[in-house]
């Protein structure tokens, strides 16, 4: 009944379709979390295509030893912009956008706590990204690497204003990220539906809450450090100026104090998505919710204390090396707990391999490997060989693509029907999945090998007699197999808007509140304030004889 009435509404709307200028004005001035979430995701998608193209240029340059497809300086700009773009203008916006869309719905709220602040956050993030890309107008992007080690950022070694645009852009987008963190905390803590205590919150908002805590603690040190860089460059300050007793190592500590929690900001929400999808597609409750929740908190806290494992080769004392190695290894315990709990959720279930679950399985299979290479890198002495080599490049792409991106795709396939009222094409999803998986394997697998064979990172070319060429060629082939999978995904998003199967309110027979309203939801989300008694309100509604609240 709901679907028929909704279609009637759509039809009557179509008769009086507003002008495109009115639609654009609506989107540009909106404070609706759903629209803002979609804009964040659009931003991430556009920058994904740009950063992906940068990657293809790099892979082509590295396909032969002593290749001269691009000049050394252009290559160095490419890896700088590729890293900065992927972390700050693809990963963060997509994660914040998806959370923006889903979290208020899942906690039963009408919108985020501060809708206008939410809009400000999006526009700050976008303008920050544009500012960084404005550096091309100075004659070239910065060539610093995404972590911009001092003193490369000083005026002596980075003379053009490109570095200033880079730092300013990240300061601005950092403010956007902070506002998102503030908004998520206030929404999740103070705007949950009646009956949804902290112990009954769905898992995804729980992970977003702890991601937000990490944002609040980790982003300001980066902002402060970037301000210090600007002061050094523009006001002749001496923070990172070794000739005046400044410390280049201080930059590394500050950057990685941000940089390590940053990668957990990029993965904790994914743990949340996966914890939503696996139960629905296994038809079972999430195994061990309390332990999962505690493990999330443990990961959030431990990740704040391990940053110098990115600095094992700077010559710290053995004691410090051992502390950071031990702390970094410690994080594998709560991560392992999560992994086993997901497996236990699947075990004994009735598993459907629809597109969201397919990508979750890809995530599980790949993230395990990325986690294991992470354990190798946590061993400080082993890191003396592996740090700054292609092994690390292989590792972090494995967890970022195999982990973050696969998880994000699972979320897209899961929630796109809710946001648009249409299902994404399963056929295109399978093409995307297999091309991506195979391409990704071929691109980043060989990097572990070339790293162990002595290939350092960030080199625009290499000698022919090192034995690295074969592995680089396999990587390049893999990259060109991956590339079409992203095109297929974007095509799927666009095509399904018009031609996707109508989704209805609850196409996946799921458990959480967002599926209790229409697809897409009305601007005010819910017709009446939902009241919940357990972690799976819709399970309770569909199984009144066996509700969760009797067992939680």
């Amino acid at each position: 009944m709901a679907v028929a009435e909704r279609q009637h509404d759509l039809a009557s709307q179509a008769a009086t379709k507003p002008a495109w200028t009115a639609v654009l004005h609506d989107w540009v001035t909106t404070a609706d979390h759903k629209k803002i979430g979609i804009m964040y995701i659009l931003m991430g998608t556009v920058f994904l295509v740009i950063a992906g193209a940068q990657a293809l240029f790099m892979r082509w340059q590295l396909v032969y030893a002593r290749h001269d497809f691009v000049s050394p300086d252009v290559f160095n700009q490419l890896f700088t912009m590729h890293g900065t773009t992927m972390v700050f203008f693809v990963g963060m916006p997509m994660i914040i956008g998806m959370a923006n869309y889903v979290v208020p719905l899942q906690v039963g709220a009408r919108d985020m706590a501060f809708p206008r602040l939410n809009a400000l956050g999006f526009w700050l993030t976008l303008f920050g990204g544009l500012l960084v890309y404005f550096s091309y107008a100075t004659g070239g992007a910065p060539a610093l690497g995404w972590f911009a080690y001092a003193p490369l950022t000083t005026k002596t070694f980075a003379r053009s204003a490109a570095t200033d645009f880079w730092a300013l852009g990240l300061i601005v987008s950092g403010f956007g990220t902070l506002t998102a963190g503030i908004n998520f905390v206030a929404t999740i803590v103070a705007m949950r539906a009646p009956g949804m205590t902290f112990r009954k919150i769905p898992f995804y908002p729980w992970t977003i809450l702890w991601t937000s805590v990490q944002i609040l603690i980790a982003i300001p040190p980066l902002t402060a450090a970037l301000i210090m860089v600007m002061f050094d460059r523009q006001l002749d300050a001496h923070f990172f100026d070794p000739q005046n007793n400044g410390s280049v190592v201080l930059w590394q500590h500050l950057f990685w104090f941000f940089g390590h929690p940053e990668v957990y900001i990029l993965i904790l929400p994914i743990f949340g998505i996966v914890s939503e999808v696996i139960p629905v597609f296994s038809r079972k409750v999430l195994f061990g919710y309390e332990f999962m929740a505690a493990a999330t908190m443990a990961i959030a806290f431990i990740s704040l204390g391990v940053w110098a494992h990115h600095m094992f080769v700077i010559g710290m004392s053995r004691t410090l090396d051992m502390y950071f190695a031990a702390a970094s290894l410690l994080v594998s315990i709560p991560t392992g707990i999560k992994f086993f709990n997901w497996l236990a959720t699947m075990y004994g279930g009735r598993i459907s391999m629809a597109s969201p679950m397919l990508f979750c399985m890809g995530f599980l299979a790949m993230f395990l490997i990325g986690g294991l290479t992470g354990i190798m890198l946590a061993l400080a002495p082993f890191d003396f060989q592996l740090s700054d080599s292609y092994f690390v490049v292989g590792h972090f792409h494995w967890v970022l693509i195999g982990g973050t991106l696969f998880g994000l795709f699972a979320g897209f396939y899961y929630w796109y029907p809710k946001a648009t009222g249409r299902m994404l094409s399963e056929r295109l999803a399978k093409w995307q999945f297999w091309l991506l998986l195979i391409g990704f394997f071929l691109t980043f697998g060989p990097m572990h090998i070339s790293g162990m064979l002595g290939m350092p990172r960030r080199i625009f070319t290499y000698e022919a007699d090192r034995g690295w060429e074969l592995w680089n060629q396999i990587s390049t082939i893999g990259a060109f197999i991956q590339a079409p999978s992203y095109v297929i995904f974007v095509w799927n998003l666009l095509w399904s808007l018009r031609h996707g199967k109508p989704a209805g309110d609850d196409p996946w027979d799921a458990f959480t509140l967002e599926w209790a309203t229409t697809s897409p939801p009305p601007a005010y989300n819910f017709d009446s304030l939902p009241v919940v008694h357990s972690r799976r309100p819709l399970w309770d509604a569909k199984h009144p004889d066996d509700p969760d609240w009797q067992y939680e």
Binding site: P72, D73, N76, L144, Y149, P151, L152, N245, K284, V285, F287, G288, F291, V313, I314, G315, R318, D321, M322, A326, L329, S332, I333, G336, I337, F340, L343, M346, G348, G349, R350, S352, M353, A365, L368, L372, I375, M376, L379, A380, P381, F382, F384, Q385, S387, D388, L453, G454, R457, F460, Y462, D465, R466, G467, W468, E469, H543, D548, Y551, E552
Partner: protein, 341 residues
């Protein structure tokens, strides 16, 4: 068949810089740790990935076990004993790895002694520049040294049970660099304002390759390392030659005058001549090196001429400008430099 040849060839080349071909105690300790962690992680991989694939296959919702779509499988909310078990097992593995890496760390990063008479040890200060290596030899076998060379590091091999450790003090003249010769040791950074210490020792004479491993600007990729390990006798011969001032062959007097009249001397040093620059590689015994441009091209007359004519033809973006020398002057200077053995 061609693929196999490619693979085999590649493998042979790869041995030169593989972390699995250690020739020195620190690299060996690290390889031992590496094997341990590989065994552990492979075990974890097969078990966990195995459970994953098994679960996907066994509990799939195929036509056979789709059954009545309105019945759901048994809902299992959790199990405290199981959670404790799979927390304890990883904790145990973590504990073992912490112990193993502590031991390796202390083996790899010992406290280095000060030079003393008859210690059979070589002390060199390595200074990183954009994009070349400066090596300042300070002590061998307790005897003080004081000469500077560039890009190719000659060291003695241990012999007859007497190890000859090499202690490298690492500094930087500009940005952060990293000294990485995988077969000899893990890498360690050269940081402006900081002194770091790296040690290695080997009993196998030969050429050990490496390169800078911390992005340091345009030609980071062109900052290659060549460590030439020689028998003690050969090393001492090389050392004796290096300690001499530059060869002064009267046959190239005109070339020497041309060299000294150009701005070369502002950056380069040739001991025994007025050329005393510190900004660029020391050229006193240029021809004792096998390569030019920190390992990029063989050191022969043709490459030397090409380099001086326009360094950017070999190393685009490097800090040495092309001086627009006339061909005649260029040849004179090349003739002179070719005598600096």
């Amino acid at each position: 068949m061609g693929g196999l040849v490619l693979l085999a060839n590649s493998a042979a080349q790869a041995e030169q810089t593989s972390i699995f071909e250690p020739a020195s105690p620190p690299a060996e300790s690290i390889r031992t740790l590496a094997i341990l962690v590989f065994v552990i992680t492979l075990f974890i991989f097969f078990v966990v990935e195995g459970v994953l694939f098994y679960s996907i296959w066994r509990f799939r919702r195929s036509k056979q076990n789709a059954g009545d779509p309105t019945t759901e499988p048994a809902q299992v909310y959790g199990s405290k004993p199981i959670e404790v078990a799979w927390t304890a097992a990883p904790a145990l593995i973590v504990f073992v790895l912490v112990l193993a890496s502590t031991r390796t760390l202390w083996e790899v990063k010992p406290n280095a002694p000060a030079p003393s008479a008859g210690d059979n040890a070589l002390y060199v200060t390595a200074i990183g520049h954009q994009w070349w290596w400066e090596f300042h030899y300070t002590s061998y076998n307790g005897e003080p040294l004081d000469f500077i060379t560039a890009n190719e590091l000659h060291v003695p091999a241990g012999e007859d049970g007497t190890p000859r450790p090499v202690y490298l003090t690492l500094r930087s003249a500009d940005v952060i660099h990293s000294f990485w010769v995988p077969r000899l040791a893990g890498k360690l950074d050269l940081i402006p304002g900081v002194d770091n210490l790296l040690w290695f020792q080997t009993n196998e004479p030969g050429l050990y390759l490496g390169q800078c491993a911390e992005y340091c600007g345009t030609q980071h990729a062109g900052m290659l390392l060549r460590v030439v390990v020689e028998s003690p006798a050969d090393f001492e011969t090389w050392l004796a030659n290096e300690r001499q001032p530059a060869v002064d062959d009267p046959a190239v007097a005109q070339g020497k005058a041309a060299f000294l009249s150009e701005t070369c001397i502002n950056c380069h040093r040739v001991r025994g001549t007025p050329a005393d620059g510190t900004y660029a590689p020391d050229l006193t015994h240029l021809m004792s090196r096998e390569t030019l441009a920190s390992g990029l091209v063989p050191n022969d007359r043709e490459n030397l001429r090409k380099w001086i004519r326009n360094p950017h033809d070999i190393k685009e973006g490097c800090l040495m400008p092309a001086f627009g020398l006339s061909p005649e002057k260029l040849d004179l200077i090349v003739d002179y430099l070719a005598t600096l053995k």
